[in-house]
């Protein structure tokens, strides 16, 4: 019997014996393949297809602490204020408030008047399923939710120790001695449309905080109706309504037809007209009927989906960077596909923090300076960011007040001979007598690589580094418990104010607070407090710059880089102007569905 006859016989016999199983599997395979060939054409729909590169965790505003959760929340929920979509530097505008608040002379009382006739989206939690009108007391309820210790909101810091009576109320609630009915002196609603916020001390960042997802308004009926499942049933006042959410897959939002809070802006930056950002000036928004946010964690499927036109915009993964961008411009391949590039400066800073309580690092300014001078930032930018970053000279990043692009930190240059001089001054010539220093790092591949690079740099001046990696939770616990000696970390702006970065060095914010380095300097702390009483402006900027100089003198961190975000988008996506602090941007984006249909056929 030859091989062919045998195999035929064998498969026939096998098929008879295992017939059913084989039939089912063969059929499912065939079905799979045939479905693949008759894929539905959804391109004609007026849908915005975007991507989240990590999972959306929640749709409850007070829990939305990560970029993608708060990004999703901001389409459904709204707050009192928001940022102008086009103007840079960022400019605040009223959203649910009728106008910007009246602020008392002492800066302590902020009075908001709400717009009238704003309705919550329809939901079965309301009588007859019809959304009711928004009132000032909804804000008080929403913010009490944020402060309620039972809700464990990560976002409470926005009001912590700032609003009169709120911390006391929180304390009482934790002891079971207060309820949501208990009044708070600092939050009052004298009538349906007036909201008065009274502060303990001046806090001009309050207005920035009121743009954040944490402070957006929810309806008590809905929260009570869904209980613990509220995070899966968002009902806000915003331009988009929740349709469905398959976790680890996609979130679908549809246009809220009853929404008419404002129109597309009629003015912007000087260059906006030339760049066609004002073509839709004054038009009714949102433009798209539907938003699909796909959760795609891996780089390749995200990039390929974008290149096929299944996503309207995305950032460029590290491994695809060279094939997409050359000399700051898109490559020919991308150009031919009608793909554009947008580069934005991120208001963020990466840094290597010294534990200032450490007996060696904390006490030796010259050693810290030597280490800073020995770190080759330019190479790290090429190696780890594909050139998508600029050297950080101080904690204050671009896109916030008091950032000075011309400022040069004398210890931020890569200068080995100068570094060696500082090692001598530090008392450790060529590293002699210096015990190895422990560098803590999270255990992801990139973090390991950057830690390794840091180690190599330090070897050049005789500083020995031991790298200790651990999971993210262990890493953060180590910092808050002051057990780390040296570590690398980053901070992204919550709002465009240098205060958000300088608070990372404010003494009273020491561990477990955001000042993980536990840096303490009396003058720095006094200036921080002084600045908190001032409105944004030249005077405040001067104080911030004084604080920056103190930082440079003592160098509790080695500042790393400020990142640049590179976004690519298809030509059919209009009005794509990106800023990482602006959350409620999807309502402004428009899709040219005809163009998309034509282009996608060619991709």
């Amino acid at each position: 019997m030859n091989f062919a006859t045998f195999s035929l016989k064998l498969s026939v016999q096998f098929f008879i014996r295992k017939g059913k199983a084989m039939l089912i599997t063969t059929l499912s395979l065939l079905l799979t393949l045939s479905m693949g060939c008759t894929r539905k054409n959804k391109d004609a729909e007026n849908t915005l297809n975007i991507v989240a590169t990590s999972n959306i965790k929640t749709l409850d505003p007070i829990e939305a602490s990560d970029v993608y959760s708060s990004g999703a929340v901001a389409q459904v929920y709204e707050g009192l204020l928001h940022y102008h979509f086009l103007k840079r530097p960022l400019q605040l505008e009223p959203l649910l408030a009728a106008q910007m608040p009246k602020v008392s002379k002492d800066g302590l009382t902020h009075t908001f008047t709400l717009r009238q006739g704003i309705k919550f989206q329809d939901d079965s939690a309301f009588p007859e399923g019809k959304g009711r009108e928004l009132t000032a007391s909804d804000f008080i309820y929403s913010w009490k939710r944020l402060a309620d210790p039972n809700n464990k909101s990560e976002g409470f810091w926005v009001f912590d120790n700032k609003i009169l009576g709120l911390n006391e109320w929180r304390e009482q609630v934790s002891k079971g001695k207060a309820t949501y009915e208990t009044p708070i002196e600092g939050l009052q609603a004298p009538d349906r449309y007036t909201l008065i916020i009274k502060l303990k001390k001046p806090f001009y960042q309050l207005h920035y905080v009121l743009t954040m997802s944490y402070t957006s308004v929810v309806a008590k009926e809905v929260v009570e109706r869904y209980g613990k499942e509220f995070l899966n049933h968002p009902v806000g006042t915003g331009p988009f309504k929740f349709e469905s959410w398959t976790r680890n897959n996609q979130l679908v939002l549809t246009r809220n037809k009853d929404w008419s809070l404002h129109t597309y802006p009629t003015e912007g930056e000087a260059s906006d007209k030339a760049q066609n950002y004002l073509e839709d000036a004054g038009k009714k928004i949102p433009f798209v009927d539907k938003v699909v946010i796909q959760e795609i964690i891996e780089d390749q499927p995200r990039w390929l989906n974008f290149m096929k036109g299944n996503l309207d915009y995305t950032s460029i993964p590290k491994d695809n960077f060279d094939s997409a961008v050359q000399n700051g411009k898109t490559t020919k391949e991308l150009n031919d596909k009608g793909i554009h590039l947008q580069i934005n400066r991120e208001p963020d800073v990466t840094y290597t923090a010294f534990n200032m309580n450490d007996p060696i690092l904390g006490k030796n300014e010259n050693l810290r300076k030597a280490m800073s001078l020995a770190y080759d930032t330019d190479t790290s930018i090429k190696k780890f960011y594909n050139g998508r970053a600029i050297t950080a000279q101080s904690p204050i990043p671009p896109e916030v007040d008091a950032y000075d692009p011309n400022y040069k930190n004398p210890y931020k240059e890569y200068n080995l001979s100068k570094a060696k001089e500082f090692m001598v001054k530090a008392g450790y010539p060529e590293g002699k007598g210096l015990a190895p220093i422990e560098f803590s790092s999270p255990n992801s591949t990139t973090n390991r690589q950057t830690a390794e690079f840091f180690k190599q740099n330090m070897e050049k001046i005789g500083v020995k580094i031991n790298i200790v990696t651990s999971s993210w939770p262990q890493f953060t616990t180590k910092i808050t418990e002051k057990k780390a000696q040296l570590w690398g970390i980053a901070w992204l702006a919550d709002y465009p104010d240098a205060e958000n970065f300088l608070q990372l060095l404010y003494g009273p914010n020491g561990s477990p607070g955001p000042n993980g380095a536990n840096y303490k300097n009396k003058e720095f702390d006094e200036l921080y407090e002084q600045a908190s009483h001032l409105l944004p402006g030249v005077e405040r900027d001067k104080i911030y710059q004084k604080m920056r100089d103190i930082f440079t003198k003592e160098l509790p961190w080695i500042p790393g880089v400020h990142r640049l975000s590179y976004s690519t988008y298809h030509n059919w996506l209009k009005n794509f102007k990106f800023h990482s602090v602006i959350n409620d941007n999807l309502k402004y984006f428009r899709i040219d569905t005809k163009e998309r249909g034509e282009m996608k056929a060619k991709l």
């Binding site: 464990k152 976790r247 390929l304 993210w472």
Partner: protein
């Protein structure tokens, strides 16, 4: 047999007890502080303390352990600390998508590789056998990422045979997206499965009963099917059944590359986030699944081999 199953089920209890104790101890010794994590980047000591209270972390350890046992008995594992989802819901919602990838892929792979291994055993040491062996070894030495990246780039992006990634919750719609991950799953199983089954068959083929059958004049394929396959059932069952729990627990890489909302990534994510309730629940459920399938494979031994009696 029922007595046997009953007795084995009773044995599971102390083992599961040990699993719970081990999970609990490990987490409390090596895990980061979940209260610090939950409090976030602007935490104050007061906030951390409040969270510790509300999570019940400042109660004595034995009280926390008994609470954990209580959760297990009631199958109410509470909510995830990081996603705040009900853990049982997370599990039940994810099992369907995970299984719709792994089960068909697994069946195709097993049927395909067992048939191929039979062919190889029939023509052992032929050119066909050697080439397949070398191919299998080569396939084994490639990382699974290579298959995924290649499949997605070539089959989906360049040749347009499959969608790149995605998911449709409806039964009819999901097959469109499952095609490519199933193909890759099968490819990934080929190397090790074929080599394993081939060895199993070859082990049998030199036994005396095979020679006797040949002497009686039975043809090769008859011998292979009637005798060899049947006698090789024990190692096959062991392998197949023991892989079952992993089918239910999903495939981390395939799910994350193809956007399948299964439970493959659940445990890894939970460990990354120090999400103790999820770690507890998943460790416990995995242990239960593993033991159940162990029992099933023991029972199946008796079914295929009359020499084995369950006592």
């Amino acid at each position: 047999m029922f007595k046997y199953i009953f007795r084995r089920t009773i044995y599971m209890v102390p083992i599961l007890f040990g699993v719970t104790l081990l999970t609990f101890t490990l987490f409390h010794v090596v895990g980061g502080d979940p209260a610090v994590l939950a409090a976030g980047k602007h935490a104050t000591p007061e906030q951390i303390e409040l969270i510790r209270q509300s999570l019940g972390l400042n109660r004595p350890l034995y009280v926390q352990y008994f609470q954990f046992l209580h959760q297990i008995f009631t199958l109410d594992f509470g909510r995830s600390w990081s996603s705040r989802q009900n853990i049982w819901t997370m599990f039940t919602q994810g099992v369907g998508p995970s299984l719709s990838l792994t089960l068909p892929a697994f069946l195709i792979a097993e049927v395909l590789t067992i048939s191929l291994a039979l062919l190889l055993a029939r023509w052992r040491d032929s050119l066909f056998d050697r080439v397949t062996k070398i191919t299998c070894l080569a396939m084994l030495s490639l990382s699974s990422l290579v298959y995924i990246l290649w499949g997605q780039y070539v089959l989906a992006y360049k040749w347009d045979i499959f969608p790149i990634s995605g998911w449709d919750p409806s039964w009819a719609g999901r097959w469109e997206f499952l095609g490519l991950p199933i193909v890759i799953f099968v490819l990934l199983s080929l190397g090790s499965n074929i080599l394993f089954f081939r060895t199993v068959f070859l082990d049998e083929i030199y036994h005396d009963y095979v020679r006797t059958a040949r002497a009686k004049g039975l043809n090769e394929s008859g011998i292979l099917f009637k005798h060899v396959l049947r006698n090789a059932m024990i190692p096959i069952i062991t392998r197949v059944v023991q892989e079952m729990p992993f089918l239910i627990l999903g495939s981390l890489l395939l799910e994350s590359f193809f956007g399948i909302p299964g439970i493959g990534g659940l445990v890894v994510l939970a460990i990354q986030n120090a999400d103790f309730p999820v770690i507890k629940a998943m460790t416990f459920l995995s242990a239960v699944l593993y033991m159940i399938f162990q029992l099933i494979s023991d029972v199946l031994y008796a079914v295929v081999d009359p020499k084995i009696q369950l006592r």
